[in-house]
Amino acid sequence: MKSFSNTYIFLFSSGLVILVAALLSIAAIVLQPFQKKNVEINNKQNILTSVNIETTAKTAEELFSKYIIESYVISPSGLKKEGIDAFTIDMKKELAKPVEERNLPIFVSSIDNETQYIIPVYGKGLWGPIWGYVSLNSDLSTIYGANFAHKGETPGLGAEIDKKEFQAQFIGKQIFNESGLFVSVSVLKGGTADPYSKYEVDGISGGTITSKGVDAMLKDCLSSYESYFKILKK
C-alpha cells in the first residue's frame, strides 16, 4: 500500500471537505425555494384540516384562498398589529418571548356562511415539539375542529394525536365555561373523560406525556387570546 505524507493527507482532506461543502451549499440554495413552498403548502393544509376540510398538496392553495378570508396578528392585550404577516410567524419563537411581547396570529375562515377563528397552537410532546391549529365557532368558545401534528412522537402511542379519531373528539367542546371563565379543553387519562362533559376529552393510553403535552399546549396558547376574544364578543 502506498504511503502518504502528512502534508498530502492534510491537503487531501481539506480539499475534499471544501468541495463537499461547496456542493451542498449550492444544492441548498437551489432547492430552498421549492422547500419553502412545500412547507407553506403543508401549513395551509394543516390550517384547512382544522376547519375539517380535506386537502391534498395540489388543492391546498386553491382551497385556502377560497375558505380563508382573513389573517392578522394581535397582541396579547387584544389589539390588532399592523404590518405583520400572520403566515410567517414562528410560534416557537413567539412562545419563547415574554407574554406581553408575543405576536399572536389568527386566521379567519368562512364556511357555509359561518365564520371560524383558527388559532395556531404549539407545545412540547415526549420527544419533540407538537403543534397544530384549533378552530372556534363564531361564539369563540365552541371548537369547530382541531388538527395536531408532531415531530417524532412514538408511533402507535403519542403519534396518534395526528389521527382523525383523536382530533374529532375536540369538535363541539367548549373552551369557556357557562360563567365565561377560560377553562380550555382538558386532555385526561385515556378512557376517563366524561362523555357528557363539554370541557374534557380522552387522552391516549400509553401516550400519557404526549396527551399531557396537548393539554398544556391548548391551555397555554388559547389562554393568550382571551382578551382579544372578550373584545370581539362585545
Binding site: V17, V20, L31, G152, P155
Partner: protein, 215 residues
C-alpha cells in the same frame, strides 16, 4: 489491465447485481441495515422512496470512492468514505424535501440515518476501495436492490395486514370489516417488522441450504 477489454455486462459484472438479490442479500444474509428496514416498512410508499434513496446514495458514493480510491490516504479512508456518504445523504434529503415533501415527512430522520446504514460503509470499504468505477457502480446498485426487495416485501405484508391497503389503495373490501375483520395493529409496530424479516430469512434458508451456517 486485461479488464479494460471486459464487456460492460460480463457474467462477472452481472453477478455483482444478481448475487445481492439472493444468496448474499445484505439484509437477510449479511444482516446489515436492519434498523432502517424496521423503521420505514409500515407502508410501501415510504419504503420504496427509502429504497430509491439508498440506491442513489450507495451507487454514487461507490463510484466516487472508486474513482478516488488510489489517492485516498489509507489512514483517513474511513473518514473520507463517511464524508462522501454524508454529502450524498444530505443531498438526497434536500431533494426529497423539495420534491416529495409528504414522503420526506414520513421518512423524517431515517433518510439522515442512511449515513449509519452499515450496508453503505460495508460496500465502500469492501468493494469500492479495491475495484474500478463501473463494477463498483453495479455492486452499489445490486446491494441497494437487495436491500430494496426485502424492504418492499416486508412493507407489503405490513401494509396489507396492518392497514388493509397496498400502496395507499384499499384492497381489503369493506364487507370484510363488517364481518368482523380487523386490521392488525401489531403489524404497524416495529417488532412485527423483525418477525416478518425473520420469516423471510427462514424461508430463504429453507430453500437455499448453502446459506445455513455450519457449526
Amino acid at each position: 489491465m486485461n479488464s479494460e477489454k471486459e464487456p460492460l455486462f460480463s457474467s462477472k459484472n452481472i453477478k455483482l447485481i444478481t448475487e445481492p438479490l439472493g444468496s448474499s442479500n445484505p439484509i437477510t444474509v449479511q444482516v446489515l441495515g436492519i434498523c432502517s428496514a424496521l423503521a420505514v416498512t409500515v407502508k410501501m410508499k415510504p419504503a420504496f422512496v427509502m429504497a430509491i434513496s439508498v440506491m442513489a446514495v450507495l451507487a454514487v458514493s461507490n463510484v466516487v470512492i472508486s474513482l478516488i480510491r488510489n489517492s485516498i490516504p489509507p489512514r483517513i479512508r474511513i473518514i473520507v468514505q463517511l464524508v462522501v456518504i454524508a454529502a450524498m445523504v444530505i443531498l438526497v434529503d434536500q431533494i426529497l424535501k423539495a420534491f416529495v415533501y409528504d414522503i420526506s415527512k414520513q421518512l423524517s430522520v431515517f433518510v439522515g440515518l442512511i449515513i449509519t446504514n452499515c450496508i453503505l460503509m460495508g460496500r465502500l470499504e469492501a468493494f469500492a476501495m479495491g475495484n474500478k468505477p463501473w463494477p463498483s457502480f453495479l455492486d452499489g446498485l445490486g446491494n441497494a436492490a437487495g436491500y430494496s426487495i426485502i424492504l418492499l416485501i416486508v412493507s407489503f405484508f405490513r401494509e396489507l395486514l396492518g392497514s388493509g391497503t397496498i400502496w395507499g389503495y384499499k384492497v381489503i373490501p369493506e364487507s370484510f370489516y363488517s364481518f368482523g375483520y380487523q386490521n392488525n395493529g401489531l403489524m404497524i409496530l416495529p417488532p412485527m417488522a423483525l418477525i416478518v424479516l425473520g420469516i423471510i430469512i427462514w424461508v430463504q434458508r429453507a430453500r437455499n441450504k448453502k446459506l445455513i451456517e455450519t457449526k
